[in-house]
């Protein structure tokens, strides 16, 4: 029987690692809508991370802000301006 603490820490490490990759791709991406999608991946993984670290109240606050409101606001901003990033 494996200790549940090891499972929790392993899943948290995996979610954190993949969210780092998603954040890196979101920064490098030139198409801004795809950057919003990568940011949504990172938000979902952070919600799972907060859950696994036993903070369900933070999850209840974090999900509407990071998955619900933030992509909506950024997409409204992108639709008012331009789709591609110009360096």
């Amino acid at each position: 029987m494996i200790d549940p603490q090891i499972i929790v820490l392993g899943m948290a490490a995996l979610a954190a690692l993949v969210s780092v990759i998603a954040t890196y791709l979101a920064i490098l991406e030139k198409n801004l809508v795809r950057a919003v999608v990568f940011s949504a991946i990172q938000s979902t993984l952070y919600a799972f991370l907060y859950y696994v670290l036993m903070a369900p109240d933070i999850v209840l606050v974090y999900i509407p802000v990071a998955v619900g409101l933030y992509p909506a606001v950024v997409l409204i901003l992108i639709s008012k301006t331009e789709k591609e990033e110009k360096v």
Partner: protein, 93 residues
């Protein structure tokens, strides 16, 4: 029924879910179009909601289940935002 058997069964279930999440994330990070990425995130998040319910049985903490409802409700909003943006190229009006 003894709780040890349920915990052992869930312990064998957890790696299957984790492999499935990794495969979903590969498609979500490398999809050719935006629609593929959003579809992969959508399916992955509903499965994460199921996984959260199973984990709350595994940890024996019934309070943790409130997060699953919120996650399943708000990822639908992301679908609708991206669909509305792709269809009309505008939002808010």
């Amino acid at each position: 029924m003894d709780p040890a058997m349920i915990n052992t069964f869930i312990l064998y279930i957890i790696p299957i879910f984790i492999i499935a999440f990794i495969l979903y994330i590969i498609r979500a990070l490398s999809g050719p179009t935006i629609s593929d990425q959003v579809l992969a995130i959508d399916a992955m998040t509903y499965d994460i909601a199921a996984f959260l319910v199973i984990l709350s049985i595994f940890f024996r903490e019934p309070i943790l289940i409130g997060a699953a409802i919120v996650l399943a409700l708000w990822i639908y909003a992301l679908d609708i935002y991206i669909a509305k943006y792709l269809e009309g190229k505008e939002m808010g009006e």
